[in-house]
Subunit: 148 residues, 4 copies
């Protein structure tokens, strides 16, 4: 396994620079582990995550899946902040607790144009996952005349 | 085609009552049309929707898809705020403009336990869609005589 | 709307040439309509499609979705038989009848590298769809050094 | 972890009984390992699996994913042959070799009404996966006291 292309601190600095409205001190996101193509990201609980029924909303978990995959992309191919999601598919498995969400993201394919990964989301301290997502990211490439 | 189970105003009132942190005056969401199993919802542009590259973020469109489907569920089966997403799959097609998002949600199946729908998202005034999602919602049971 | 890049007959001839084990006289597949990015394909009923419960199997409908999208790709960009599926997501809505399947495929995006479409499958003569799929196809591209 | 609800031999016998057109001596499918919610299934190579480009077709891998998940469902809840797929989402990662396919299926959720799992497909002897799928199966109800 190669070394990660960026450390957790380098990724945090990059995100703060290019995405200041999404990642800033106090935003509640913490990059807890970065290995090559394999990362863990925490989202601290906020009341705004709650939906009817008293559980954490689906869009909060979608957002967290997408963020974890973005970090995993950086871990494999370095600073490519213009990488974009082309597909996300998520299944909700169990109602999350009122607490932090932990996302484990793992890349299944690191291609030159497309990266595919899976993200498993847990409630902190609970062994059964609350959601599972697969995502594809596209890296803006040197394709002459390409407007995709 | 049957009549819608709830009007746009009734759905807005329900959402404001059961989901005050997600739907409130000034939240930027507007339910523009409600027919049976077929609705249109607008999300007014906010700077917080922007991601690196100057375009609207994927999670903003995921959230909007999920919200539009939630409204479509109410249009077909009435006030069931504890209905929950079990699956969402979304494809991103074109970069959205810096402007409002329009979501057209249409149910493909209205079962006793599961509802399936598709949501097409547009940038306001642009004919080509920016994203397309399919979603499954589960209605909390028990459902006597369920044959789904 | 531009004209279709190939006619139904041209697509049938191409398929028979490049995919003789999949498309041949008597294989049960018929390309019924080809417009630009919008096609209809029929699969004649065969007993081998049946699964436990007496209904048509899921893999039969997956296969039919994928075939219809392949034809839709040709309708938009011409003879590119090396185009490959990168993602398929399918929802099963109603149990199909013992009869022909009709697939309506429609492209949502025609990019230089990726094409995205949706396929709705019906039992012949029944208005409610039995399945709905979204697919992404990748066109092998002139990306120097690309091995995706 | 509980014991598997059925052994590989019991599952093979059940399949041969209820699905004789899909599972029979010489069909090329072999159930190689059955643990609770975790199974391995092999598909022997056949020329009919090949698509243009000389690689194994997408529908062959979709079919194999669905079959592996069906076996995993039996491993967890016993003989429920009327369990049906409600959703499948698959990503194709690498072109498979001309050889056997191995599917590892693992359940992520075993609910009373819905089971969710993921299937990773390999070319026999090759470490990188060729495809990854997530599936939902629905178990026919009514289920007294269901709280899913």
């Amino acid at each position: 396994m190669p070394a990660a292309a960026m450390t957790a601190e380098e990724i945090a600095n990059l995100l703060h620079e290019v995405f200041p409205q999404g990642f800033y001190p106090g935003c509640g996101l913490a990059i807890e582990r970065v290995d090559y193509a394999n990362v863990r990201v925490r989202r601290h609980f906020q009341e705004s995550h709650i939906r009817p029924g008293g559980t954490i909303s689906g869009p909060t978990m979608m957002d967290h899946s997408d963020f974890a995959m973005y970090v995993a992309v950086f871990s494999a191919i370095g600073p490519q902040p213009l990488a974009v999601t082309t597909n996300l598919s998520i299944n909700f498995l169990h109602k999350p607790d009122r607490g932090d969400l932990i996302a484990d993201a793992r890349l299944l394919k690191v291609g030159k144009r497309l990266l595919v990964g899976e993200v498993t989301i847990y409630s902190d301290g609970v062994p059964d996952p609350v959601a599972h997502a697969t995502l594809t990211y596209s890296v803006p490439g040197p394709v002459p005349g390409d407007t995709d």
